[in-house]
Symmetry: D2
Subunit: 345 residues, 4 copies
């Protein structure tokens, strides 16, 4: 019997992407979809791409929890915690694609999100679901905080260097660019087609909410408190994140050694591809897939390592990673339902 998956917030972009992936999962199925705004409508009325594939009627959150073995929430921050409480109380597994359980320190959450932790017990249970880095913790968990899209691209891009301590952690500049789906399905002037097409600029410069999440992971990996300068940009494409990351090389270590370090680190991780020397990561090569492509570059003139890390923000940066976490929670093959070959165009 298949795992019954429920998606709260199925009409958001990450929710719709979860539906797309679950429809092809060999061991799980969409048991229920919910939406506050569209309750009572069919999912395929909101997303006509699903016509004939998922014509389920959008129900409410309680009915959804009842029908599901595992609940995915793709809702604004502050909303996921209460749903988690209900789901966990009923013994369900829970994966939050929002920010409610990502930060281990409540003070960080308060400072960056302006909210509070109402259920400390849940927060103690929560595991940060970046499988390539926290595989073991995830396997035994019941409640997963699915990482943010930018933090996923950045943590994967820097993890080997952080663990090995080869970079001066005070010099990290993280210049990221994200496709417009990252801003969600909600309307705004910034994402209105004529305002967004043939346009480009950074936003939330050095004040984006993903900053503390990035810093917490990098600090954990390096063993030092890390403070980064993180600047996201809005890119006129639908999907994909490119993070270009800069750091001063500390140790007397050659480019070839750093490259080997990365290759060793990710040898057994099927969703991370460290590109051969001479190639540069491009978001087009990972779109619609769960891959993270990483390329390594060296500025010998200034002694800096430059890492380029690309993901599909909606797959490895959201729904795909959530499925990967679900697979681990259930002891399935990590890549079940994720055999997505990135198209060439």
């Amino acid at each position: 019997m298949k795992i019954k998956a429920g998606i709260v917030g199925a009409t958001g972009y990450a929710g719709a992407e979860l539906v797309r992936l679950l429809l092809n999962h060999p061991q799980a199925e969409v048991a229920a979809v919910s939406s506050v705004s569209y309750e009572g409508k069919k999912l395929s009325d909101v997303y006509p791409n699903f016509l004939g594939l998922c014509d389920d009627v959008l129900c409410d959150e309680d009915a959804l929890i009842e029908k599901s073995d595992i609940i995915f929430t793709s809702v604004p921050h502050g909303v996921g915690e209460a749903i988690a409480k209900k789901a966990i109380a009923k013994g369900k597994k829970f994966i939050d694609l929002g920010a409610d359980f990502r930060l281990s320190k409540e003070e960080d959450y308060r400072q960056w999100y302006g909210g509070e932790y109402h259920e400390p017990a849940l927060h103690r249970m929560a595991v940060y679901g970046l499988p390539e880095l926290f595989y073991k913790e995830i396997q035994g968990a019941q409640l997963i905080a699915n990482p943010g899209c930018y933090p996923t691209s950045i943590a994967l891009g820097l993890a080997p260097a952080m663990e090995a301590g080869v970079l001066d952690v005070n010099t990290l500049i993280l210049d990221s660019k994200s496709g417009v789906t990252g801003a969600g399905r909600g309307l705004s002037q910034t994402t209105h087609y004529p305002d967004c097409n043939e346009a480009f600029s950074p936003y939330k410069i050095a004040c984006h909410r993903h900053t503390p999440e990035i810093e917490e992971t990098l600090s954990t990996l390096s063993g030092f408190p890390v403070k980064v300068t993180f600047v996201p940009h809005l890119l006129p494409v639908n999907r994909g994140i490119v993070s270009t990351m800069y750091g001063k090389i500390l140790k007397n270590i050659s480019p070839a050694e750093i490259r080997k370090m990365y290759e060793d680190y990710y040898r057994d991780k099927r969703f991370v591809r460290v590109l051969p020397e001479g190639q540069t990561a491009n978001l087009k090569n990972v779109r619609y897939s769960n891959y993270c492509d990483i390329s390594l570059h060296f500025d010998a003139r200034t002694g800096r390592l430059i890492v380029v890390s690309c993901i599909d923000n909606m797959v490895k940066g959201a729904a795909g990673q959530a499925i990967q976490n679900m697979n681990l929670l259930y002891g399935l093959d990590e890549g079940a339902g994720l055999a997505l070959v990135p198209p060439a165009f």
Copy 2:
């Protein structure tokens, strides 16, 4: 044991799309890939999206035929026929994604393509592989002519009306718009990004080579010689075709009756979705999938039927339809390897 598929011209766009689909096919596998321009290189050097997924070395056409049970050719017109001869002589199955076997009359081929038929026996064997219309003929075939992208969208959009004889066949106007992958991977000023982006225009107005193919199918379906005005346009998107088609309604038949006729016609065809009344077909809902979405509209003021038909030119318009044909040739489930859920974005 899996069916061994060989792809001649694997570095073209349709070839690369065939690789993408075959990598996930449950009963077939990529046995060999060939390319004249890149022989000796790895496919993943040309298409880095395939890194770790298909690192096969591009071989020559003869080696490929040897290794394969079925050969797909995605090559310029005039090239496929000679490859077919070799493959058929060795008892292989053969699907040509080019134009060499699409037209039943050599005089049409001579007029529109400026070439000749050197192997009449092969042309007599060839079956036009549009499964929704010629299912039975395809099942027993050895050599398939995979239809053109525009003709696929148009034939599926008009078939029910043609067979029922509800339109004046002298009034057909076919205004089609195709994404840029339709022009192939070869470089040209027209498809240079700054010339193509924020641009739009028709091309090969009333003289595109798909015209005789369209007319042959519509004539077969209607039983009358059909002459159409067909105008393709280049659309600044990567994938997808929208054909907007106009015809005068002949008989005293209501919109509801025409709609029912379409729904009945396609009831058992899993890859054609006749949209509910009030919805309009949009290429975004079929991208990366094998679906053809059709919407029906009526201009009561002028007595015209307007059909909008959308496909992904690279899937239903090329590689996906070729896989569908392969499935039929081998008696597999028609949709094997084609469970592609179109993404919402």
Copy 3:
């Protein structure tokens, strides 16, 4: 002293384009800008491209009328009429970029817009401002109805053929495609970037409100009552309209004669370019300019004329044409302020 121009609805797209053009007009200047939604803000707060060029504070409509010699309104239909009444009463000139004065018959307005004519006297005064066709009427006018964007592209593309009576007026199919600015600055799911990018479809099929306007002009030109099938499409570009138009050739007239007829018709019209034989009109060649490019094509196999007509929907289709009308009203050079060289990219 310069003509004082006031723009009601300056924060809409057509309004912003009027500002752009007026800032470079040698004999006119922006005297006032108004906006219901942004009153009290600076125009450059809403449109940062105008920073330092037009930092005027958005005022209300009455203050604007007071300060202006000529008033342009770019407001939803039904709103322009009342403003016209006030402006005309004060002896000002008035150009409405909306639909309130475009249709000569109130019954058409009632049927297609669901509104009524409250000021019959104003409607009698109103002149349809398509300068290439109604030059003389415009010169002496006080109140101008600036044509719709689609009707401009279509009327210019068909005028010579209509006047000469070479087409069967019962066979006209008008397949138009417009950039997204045509949908305005207001937010909608359809124009949300990820929903609109890499997408394409027709909309308001055979029921778009520009239909009666198109038919009125074509009927006037041909002397016969014309009914057309008009289907607009939303094109993923910011600017530009391409209308592909089809009609059966009635008379025994050669392509060369039709071409000469077009060239003669537009010889003295500086903003219409009839392209040389062998070229095809493309919206990229008229973007950011007041040109209308027209190319002529013939389908000898079916006896049809195919006209392709391209404009920038925001210039010749809105603000540029309004300036051209203003120039005529004031007896200025028709092209004053409109020496806009279309960029190559």
Copy 4:
């Protein structure tokens, strides 16, 4: 009488943009256009946007020099020097839009471009034409090296901070993103529409040829030898550059003081707009204009200044700046022919 301007390489993108600007210049005119590839054709055959506006026949370089008072060259590096020699010998003024005269040290040119200086006297004459920084030197010059596009955006963005010495020059990270016209009109797989659309990646990481030019200007301004890490990215838009620049603040200076420093520095420079606090520079606000928009941001947590600088790579980054230089050479108003209001969309 108007200044006679000749454009060598008029069929390249920068050449075509020069034509567009010169056609509206009040005191200059296009006297001749040349092209190696298209000699004998009309410019409007290559660029149909110029139909009726510039139908000049493309001549050879010698004929062009004869007819012109000032020669602009938009040719590959290594080609401009020889043309300059001929032009200067005939007493003409000369502006090279290529790289031949930008670097003062031949060793830098040799290292980064692999070429040599054959005419040392010309190199001694050459002035680096960034008018906001080297106004005086330009005024008396005969031979101008028009700056590169990236260096223009970067030098303008950092000049006030460099001159004031507020940044640690060893910490400069320059992350730039350019529209595709920056890669020129020549065909390449990278700029083929389906490969470039919905794609994004850096290129020539830490080894782009604009690096020594950037460093020379920053070193001149700061008085210290500056080494930067410069990483350009290819952005899927036609036009525009955004440079996001990072540097450690050295002195005890407040954000407000830095802002004031920038405002003072650029007070009299009409083409540089320092944005008000709270706004972020976006390339869409400078497209088709000669403006450079600069916004200033501070990362208090890490003590860094972040400068965002936007230009249109084809105007301020190429043809517009060349016109500005021409104006200074002739003692005209600096902004003659450059009253280009950036459109809102």
